[in-house]
Subunit: 175 residues, 6 copies
Amino acid sequence: MVIKRVVFPGRFQPFHKGHLYVVKKLLEEYDEVVIVIGSAQEGFTCANPFTASERFEMIHKALEYEGIKRERYWIVPVPDLNKPLAWTSYVISMVPHVEAVASGNPHVLYLFEWFGLKTIEVDLIFPEKYCGTRIRELMCRGDEWRKYVPEPVSKYIDEIGGVERVRRLCHDKRY
Amino acid sequence: MVIKRVVFPGRFQPFHKGHLYVVKKLLEEYDEVVIVIGSAQEGFTCANPFTASERFEMIHKALEYEGIKRERYWIVPVPDLNKPLAWTSYVISMVPHVEAVASGNPHVLYLFEWFGLKTIEVDLIFPEKYCGTRIRELMCRGDEWRKYVPEPVSKYIDEIGGVERVRRLCHDKRY
Amino acid sequence: MVIKRVVFPGRFQPFHKGHLYVVKKLLEEYDEVVIVIGSAQEGFTCANPFTASERFEMIHKALEYEGIKRERYWIVPVPDLNKPLAWTSYVISMVPHVEAVASGNPHVLYLFEWFGLKTIEVDLIFPEKYCGTRIRELMCRGDEWRKYVPEPVSKYIDEIGGVERVRRLCHDKRY
Amino acid sequence: MVIKRVVFPGRFQPFHKGHLYVVKKLLEEYDEVVIVIGSAQEGFTCANPFTASERFEMIHKALEYEGIKRERYWIVPVPDLNKPLAWTSYVISMVPHVEAVASGNPHVLYLFEWFGLKTIEVDLIFPEKYCGTRIRELMCRGDEWRKYVPEPVSKYIDEIGGVERVRRLCHDKRY
Amino acid sequence: MVIKRVVFPGRFQPFHKGHLYVVKKLLEEYDEVVIVIGSAQEGFTCANPFTASERFEMIHKALEYEGIKRERYWIVPVPDLNKPLAWTSYVISMVPHVEAVASGNPHVLYLFEWFGLKTIEVDLIFPEKYCGTRIRELMCRGDEWRKYVPEPVSKYIDEIGGVERVRRLCHDKRY
Amino acid sequence: MVIKRVVFPGRFQPFHKGHLYVVKKLLEEYDEVVIVIGSAQEGFTCANPFTASERFEMIHKALEYEGIKRERYWIVPVPDLNKPLAWTSYVISMVPHVEAVASGNPHVLYLFEWFGLKTIEVDLIFPEKYCGTRIRELMCRGDEWRKYVPEPVSKYIDEIGGVERVRRLCHDKRY
């Protein structure tokens, strides 16, 4: 019996409820989701405040809290190649066999269509609300951001001093 | 409660019984093992015939067959940086928090000692027998290699035509 | 009307009569051949004595001498990625649209089969004679090498002091 | 007899009438122009919507339509190094021997002056009109862009759905 | 007797009085300062107009003018890795043994804290005045910039035509 | 008054008396020598056991012991690019202005000749004795190696456990 898998790449800065919704939706159709943490080499910058290690833990904690068993997903950090076309085969060569890629990002969808893999354009729920950039801005301004991320993610961000980190890194926007 | 994790890097060309033995040993002491597939960008060469995708599946099948639950391990492919000292923080930044690194390779042990992570020199069982290079040579010569790898690994290698692949790739040693 | 093209990658250190034979054969079936100069970043080493610039000129001179018009081929230097799987889409994204890849190298054939492009295993004529490594060894030893390469190639190699270069670079095999 | 060649690097997103004008001007002085497609690794992003493969075809079709024979030019895609000073020798080592570089870009002119190659500052015709960035903006807004590119280029862009692609990729400016 | 060293990374575009002040302060506490020229691969762009070679000379001339002996500092250019976490061990592996890192940049401070090196948050004097970005803007606008840099630096910038360079490179902000 | 500088690249695994002899010879002709530590990213492998940090200290200690003042030299670690032709401008862009390059390595001499810099082929004294590879082999075999390196270098190697390190790393030649 062949396992039906789908790959879902994202930066997850941080992993929010929109991401969680996509994972759940994909698990209705597929046996397993391979969550690819993109830009895995990044961390401690304004746009990418969290390391791949931290994002790995956020995702794991959020899915565990939701009762999603580890049998249903893999988490695979993939560093940037800065060669978008080559990145397609790079990703596919490093994850277990997948049948499709799911994304809300037209860049990613075009790339994998070019590569020849089945693409699934995911319905993002309230993309203007569940959006990493916006959540980081709310953190900077001291506004309410916790409700946009799964509970274990906000708890973890607190533990690692994430809000203070985002504020300091984004104060001078160059980093 | 903090999860005690250890990282175990290797090339796993292929994943053999010596590797399996190390994973089991580490699971006696640690809650989870993070199996890092090194040289993840490689594949279809004499020294690295299997892609990271294939090695990922080999490891998963072998551990499943042994009854090791997914709650006990992660599989993380990491491409080479070709910058050994920088590779230390590269790896650590992409895996969930670990307390130690386990390896039988002095290069890896020296690197992480330099980095400041606890290192565990693993006892390899019969390293002259359970050795990727030797197993690939046995494949080339048409000798018995199956007994050195877990059963699901030999089955998977047969499914993907692995023996024929190794022979063709190693016929001309340049690749 | 769609142009039927095939890509033919090689290192061409130097471009020899075996390569020329392949190009001619491919032109019987295809409108155009895209000659990819691999390891294009290399030069002035024992294994890769000639720069991509020099190899570009060798190929052009050889084909011109044979009366093969420029309408029938392109020459595209491609630097190594050191990521074999990613290299497939890297190459394909940088050459005009091709229908197939031709090679005598099992590594290249496996890679593009994996990628999903039609592969053509080329019949090398006398591969033990028409072989870059062997031709460079003949140069080192002061033996007859000229008859294995097209006339304009041997002339060009003489112009750039190629034999002396190979000897000096290979004297100390480390480079 | 030595062939007089000049190298003309650009991103060609897309190849427009300003570029064509430069190529024609250079062919008045030089035997051959080596058109270097810069940022060759890019594609399917807002700033670099077209792959090097597509840009290769655009340039070829445009020059063919103008009656410029292939004997007069080469097209060489060169991926970014992200090391501007090293990029100078990188480019020169991968193209056939050139006597000069032509550009309208001060960054490129400074680099090759530093490297020691003869530089030609090209007169751009109506740089505010014939400008890749502006042409892509016109595409996004649904304004008239076709008159700024050679006819075969606009036809090719239509064939590959280029306008729709630019719109979707630039809708969310992050890509 | 162990030499007490501190590493001070910066881009130094150009080396200004704020940088000089930090070096002097650090020399009150440490035997030697290792000045790391970051983004060493850059040059001839609007944001990074000066090559590492030029920045090396600026720093040396400024310190010599101040009477700081060479026994008190090293200058080490380090190219970007574009992998911030890996960059920490990369830098440390290439400089003589240091006890701490000094920086005014929160990104750098977070990175080395993560790595486990002692970090010193330096007091920048008048950071809004002594700021590379601002000094380059003053150059562009033709305003007074010389008083913000040590005298030998402004002299050197004049010698290499630095003001004209910054103006031309920043005229079109893309570079 | 212009400072006359020469660049002297090497791997210095370890820095031996042959290297020291070259530095002294060059200082007879030049005001300053820029000692470039090549393959600076390497360390803890059989062929490159010492980190750039350690090689930096070796060189400094050896020159200090010889009474060569810091005013006469710079030490600049440069990581490999794996792009030999591009490496030429890479190196030159990161060191203070030099008039020539000195080397005993034909690969390096050819590269910089191609680049257009004055090259000096250095007379190695007893290259079969003063040779990094051979010195590391002597360490492996437990033979006398100390007399081939400056006294402070052998002392430093002892301090860092260098002999034991070379033995363990070279026991399994793969690393």
